[in-house]
């Protein structure tokens, strides 16, 4: 121990303190870097889930339903479904871990106690967690599109925008999930979330069939569903034929949803971690 103390005396010199700002990209990147390090340990299982699940959807629904349906809203069913599954995959890739992982980190692993002991505030934690999930979604969200291309989908040049759409939608859904994780008080409450929220979101979004086939009041609800706007953007990007006004409307809804969720998630999470 004496050696250790001598070593420490040699080490002793002033620290290089970085003065924090009100909202720092550095703090957000710190949270993202933490997630990246964790991801380096778990990328195989994460990638497996991200690839296999949408592929199975495409295979089963695309060929099963596709043989019965033929064309839908002017698209072959595999084209219609392939683009819809991109947005659904983004939602599952971002919102599910945002609900489950964030809840576990807060309630059981005490992860946020450790992070918030560093010069990081709740808004930066929320932003960093959502940013990481959005980045992941931006990459994995393209997988169903690639699978659909392998099965015959012929995309236009606008398909290059899909990762960016997936990122934006992933950011919004991750914030939505973080807010929910801060609202629920037990693991059991997740049943309500998955059955009562996820399922309607993903069924009433124009993924498997056009929302125009639904009753008008459901169509109205669909227009408030951020997933519907993500689906429309992806489909419009891949096949074109969508006007600038509609693009702006869809992007505007997603941005407004993102801003609202960021505020709600930050506020609710602060109430959870600061007593």
């Amino acid at each position: 121990m004496a050696d250790l103390m001598n070593q420490n005396r040699r080490d002793a010199r002033p620290a290089e303190h970085t003065r924090p700002g009100r909202f720092e990209p550095g703090a957000v990147l710190g949270v993202v870097a933490r997630e990246w390090i964790l991801y380096t340990q778990s990328w195989r299982s994460t990638t497996f889930a991200a690839v296999v699940e949408p592929t199975l959807y495409l295979l089963c629904f695309g060929f099963g339903m596709g043989a019965l349906v033929g064309t839908l809203a002017g698209y072959s069913y595999i084209d219609f479904l392939g683009t819809g599954i991109v947005a659904v995959s983004v939602m599952f890739q971002s919102m599910m871990p945002a609900v489950i992982n964030t809840f576990i980190k807060r309630r059981f692993l005490h992860t946020y106690e450790g992070i918030l002991a560093a010069p990081v505030d709740v808004r930066e934690v929320v932003t960093g967690e959502a940013l990481w999930l959005a980045l992941r979604s931006g990459v994995y969200g393209c997988v169903p599109l690639l699978v659909a291309i392998a099965f015959g989908l012929r995309p236009g040049p606008g398909a290059l925008l899909v990762p960016f759409i997936a990122f934006l939608a992933g950011f919004a859904f991750a914030l939505f999930g973080i807010w929910i994780s801060a609202v629920i008080s037990s693991v059991r409450s997740m049943d309500y979330v998955f059955s009562g929220l996820f399922t309607p979101l993903f069924l009433v979004a124009g993924t498997f069939f056009p929302v125009t086939e639904l009753p008008s009041w459901v169509q109205l609800l669909a227009s408030a569903n951020p997933l519907y706007h993500a689906v429309e953007l992806v489909r419009g990007a891949v096949f074109g034929g969508i006007g600038a006004g509609r693009v702006l409307a869809h992007v505007g809804v997603l941005l407004a949803f993102t801003a609202l969720m960021w505020f709600l998630a930050s506020h609710r999470m602060r109430r959870r971690v600061v007593s």
């Binding site: 080490d11 924090p20 560093a118």
Partner: protein, 320 residues
């Protein structure tokens, strides 16, 4: 004081707090949880460069105090400042200059020792060129050199605690808060950890350490603040407190057949403090027992006075 959102207001002094302010200053701090008052008018000042042990039994308000210092709990009343930064308004600035060792082990088990440390170099914004050096220093302090690639889940309890401590030191903090750093560890591992805290002291860091282990507070602290029912009841060096309240020695008497009450009363009539543990009466400041009294007492067990004697005398409470 109205509860404010932590970390949202800019620091009072853009130069980084008041350079001559004490490391910690708490004035009239109150924290309530519904009808329960966890911290009840706490006053505490910690000058720079000392190790202060915050000693008290479970429920004394130590952990709530620690949480308020990191702005994870906001005081209902009173003022808190850390290194000249007001809390919770300037908490983020304060946290950039302090390290916090939590009571709960929240290491990432699936990652290696080195990866756990690296994550906190990002969170503490250690410049890229200094990250490797910071990790090497932490491994050295924790005596985990050569274990950087080990998974945390493969470490012993003592190793994990040492890692938890040095994880808070990646940015060379001026102040270190430790919330029950050795709770739940066996005595051998606890003593092993004391070496890390000693090393911190050697570096000149200010340390506030909450504990309910008497011998830990005595062994490590320059000063001890005794806490009970949410406030500090006495403060001083362990030696001074023991000398003031318990003297050099304690004599323990175990009279039979309900004689404890009478014996305790007899001793108290001579102005000497006592404490009771079941049927055993401990007489503090035993070196002051007059011969006239001693001749009327049974044969005692004699031992050195401890901080626990002081604490029980002052509060009537005992440790678990």
């Amino acid at each position: 004081m109205t509860a404010s959102k932590p970390g949202l207001r800019p620091p009072a002094a853009e130069s980084g707090g008041d350079p001559v302010a004490p490391a910690l200053l708490l004035r009239g701090v109150v924290k309530r949880f519904g009808p329960f008052t966890a911290v009840d008018g706490l006053d505490l000042e910690v000058p720079r460069g000392i190790v202060l042990g915050l000693l008290g039994p479970n429920g004394a308000g130590k952990s709530t105090t620690m949480r308020m210092l990191t702005a994870q709990s906001v005081a209902d009343e009173g003022e808190i400042s850390i290194l000249g930064h007001r809390i919770p308004e300037e908490s983020k600035w304060a946290r950039a200059r302090m390290g916090v060792v939590p009571q709960h082990d929240n290491l990432d088990e699936e990652l290696t020792v080195e990866q756990n440390l690296r994550m906190f170099t990002f969170l503490y914004r250690v410049p890229r060129r200094l990250r490797g050096e910071a990790i090497a220093r932490a491994l050295r302090l924790a005596q985990l050199e050569g274990r950087g690639d080990s998974l945390v889940e493969d470490l012993s309890g003592g190793m994990r605690r040492r890692l938890l401590i040095v994880r808070a030191l990646m940015h060379r903090p001026e102040l270190v808060l430790m919330d029950e750093p050795t709770v739940g560890l066996d005595p051998q591992v606890r003593q092993d950890l004391w070496g890390v805290i000693d090393a911190l002291r050697q570096e000149g860091a200010t340390v506030l350490m909450s504990t309910h282990y008497i011998e830990e507070a005595e062994r490590l602290s320059d000063e001890v603040a005794l806490m009970a029912a949410g406030k500090v009841v006495e403060r001083g060096t362990p030696a001074d407190l023991v000398a003031k309240y318990a003297g050099r020695n304690v004599e323990e008497y175990t009279p039979g057949d309900g004689g404890a009450d009478a014996l305790e009363q007899l001793v108290r009539n001579h102005g000497l403090p006592t404490r009771r543990t079941g049927t055993t009466v401990s007489v503090l400041r035993a070196e002051e027992i007059p011969e006239s009294l001693r001749s009327r007492l049974p044969v005692p067990q004699r031992r050195d006075s401890t901080l626990e004697d002081v604490f029980v005398t002052l509060t009537g409470e005992s440790f678990d």
